[in-house]
């Protein structure tokens, strides 16, 4: 659209320049300059055109449409060196909120989540602008950034542009020499406190609490939270709008719900199952789940495929050498027994999906054998104490069998070093 067409379309809607500016999320003077053809602002122009050409406000339509359909969920997997998966739920047409994930040198990753004040068309251009600014700032860095510097620089940009936003900033770096351990550093500025959780509910870690709302001055003391976190862990980042919907407009209830999901058996469920509520969207939403499920071996196989089973046994055998021959043999015997049980009990001797995972942890070796079949294993555990379960139990220091809420069974074998 050229400047004259923009002016005509705006007037046809009965909007003043200030009305349009408010919807776009910029100043009235910017609209004035665009209509005079004296301002070149591609992102704002794109939003202006979208607003003027659409039939009605999309946020309203979107809020009515979303109940159970969640097409906006996406998943990002970082490099093999950083086995972090990122599940993200975001309403791009409805929010200025955004997630920025940038793998860095030295097996580190920068995570920035921003909640732009307001929602819908007023917040979106500001969100897009901030994303562009953040990319540019990162490109100018010659070394991995310090979180404090980023927060102060972004605060300055927000002050200059008048954008109102809160943010969560985290730097996650792999701990050298300690498998599956990361250093977690975070600053929260007015953003709902994220949840940083390990697998055991009792070990839920303190996360960065709500700090000063952006913009902060460089005189303010920013105190990053620094922790060492061992796998498996998950970091849940949610905006207040998201928590409000999950908690039926009570953010604290939403937070409790997320905590419960992430500490219980539901933690294995895909993110979309959390987001299925009957409450319609009334605010912008962003929910991100970062997981470190790093495994040294993670092999999907067919329970009835002899060669695949033996291949994984060989891989685990090599990884278990530090245990010594006797304990290595017993754990291998337990693994073989577990896979044999899955084939016989979960799949009736037929083909079926089996997954074997192995991880060396700081003080132990952990093996998980997962299936998606009929759960006869947990029943057999109690009814046949002299069965193969005795073999599995004897092969490991810790042995457990649980039903997976996603279907099937998870057998866990842990051998202490």
């Amino acid at each position: 659209m050229n400047p004259d067409e923009i002016r005509a379309a705006r007037r046809a809607r009965g909007w003043t320049q200030a009305d349009l500016a408010k919807r776009v999320g910029c100043g009235q003077s910017t609209i004035s300059m665009i209509e005079k053809g004296t301002r070149d602002a591609p992102l704002i122009m794109a939003e202006v055109e979208r607003l003027l050409l659409q039939d009605e406000d999309r946020p309203v339509a979107a809020s009515q449409a979303l109940h159970f359909v969640l097409p906006e969920l996406d998943r990002l997997t970082l490099s093999p060196k950083l086995p972090i998966t990122v599940d993200r739920w975001q309403r791009p047409e409805y929010t200025g909120d955004f997630l920025y994930v940038q793998p860095l040198a030295g097996d580190a990753v920068l995570v920035v989540a921003v909640d732009v004040a307001g929602h819908g068309t007023s917040a979106m251009p500001a969100g897009l602008y901030l994303q562009g600014w953040l990319r540019g700032w990162m490109q100018r860095q010659s070394a991995p950034p310090r979180l404090e510097s980023l927060v102060i620089e972004m605060s300055g940009e927000l002050r200059r542009t008048g954008v109102d936003a809160t943010g969560f900033f985290a730097l996650i770096s792999r701990h050298r020499g300690r498998p599956h351990t990361v250093t977690y550093e975070a600053i929260t500025c007015g953003f709902p406190a994220p949840l940083l959780m390990t697998e055991t509910p009792a070990a839920t870690l303190d996360s960065a609490g709500a700090g000063p709302s952006l913009p902060v001055s460089d005189q303010e003391q920013l105190q990053p939270v620094r922790q060492e976190v061992s796998a498996p862990w998950r970091l849940v980042i949610a905006t207040d709008g998201m928590l409000g919907r999950l908690g039926s407009r009570d953010e604290q209830a939403g937070l409790r719900k997320v905590r419960k999901w992430q500490s219980g058996a539901e933690r294995d469920l895909p993110l979309e199952s959390y987001l299925t509520t009957k409450d319609s969207v009334v605010d912008d939403e962003l929910l991100v789940l970062l997981r470190w499920d790093g495994w040294d071996i993670d092999m999907p196989l067919d329970a009835d495929n002899h060669s695949e089973r033996h291949r994984v046994v060989g891989m685990v055998e090599a990884a278990l050498e530090p245990l010594g021959k006797d304990r290595q043999a017993r754990l291998l015997q337990a693994l073989v027994e577990a896979m044999s049980n899955v084939r016989r009990h979960a799949y009736g001797g037929q083909s079926g999906a089996l997954r074997v995972r192995f991880r060396e942890e700081e003080k132990s070796f952990r093996l998980e054998i997962l299936d998606e079949g009929v759960d006869k294993v947990t029943t057999a555990l109690t009814s046949r104490p002299k069965s193969g379960f005795a073999v599995m139990n004897a092969g490991a220091n810790d042995f457990s069998v649980r039903r997976s809420r996603a279907g099937g069974t998870v057998i866990t074998l842990v051998a202490k070093k």
Binding site: H306, S307, R330, Q333, V336, G349, G388, A394
Partner: protein, 115 residues
């Protein structure tokens, strides 16, 4: 010795009514009627049967239980039947399953022929 994907053992016929059943390194195959029939025949048709476990580092409990039943069958048929060169892990598994009494274990295949 390469093992068939569906069969975790190889049978070697020796002179004087002897046979060696050599088990695979990992014996967790699906147990089929044909396995049962074949090994039952070996026990019935020979005077001495050695189960060579020298390469077997892991065995599923259903196979081990079934070998124990085969041993009982052999005893009834008057056939010498023993396991040779058994890994400690496999021995411990037999203990856990409560079947060690049914299994005669010797150091080597050669020892079976002297029983």
């Amino acid at each position: 010795m390469p093992f068939d994907d569906n069969t975790p053992y190889e049978i070697e016929e020796l002179p004087d009514g002897r046979a060696v059943i050599k088990f695979a390194p990992i014996c967790d195959h699906q147990r089929l009627d044909e396995h049962e029939n074949q090994l039952n025949s070996v026990v019935e048709q020979h005077t001495a049967v050695a189960c060579d476990m020298s390469e077997t580092k892991a065995i599923a409990s259903d196979w081990l239980r079934w070998i124990a039943r085969l041993a009982i069958k052999a005893e009834k048929a008057g056939t010498i039947f023993a396991l040779a060169d058994v890994d400690d892990g496999v021995r411990q598994t037999a203990d856990l399953l409560g079947i060690q009494e049914s299994l005669r274990v010797v150091d080597s295949v050669e020892d079976v022929w002297t029983l």
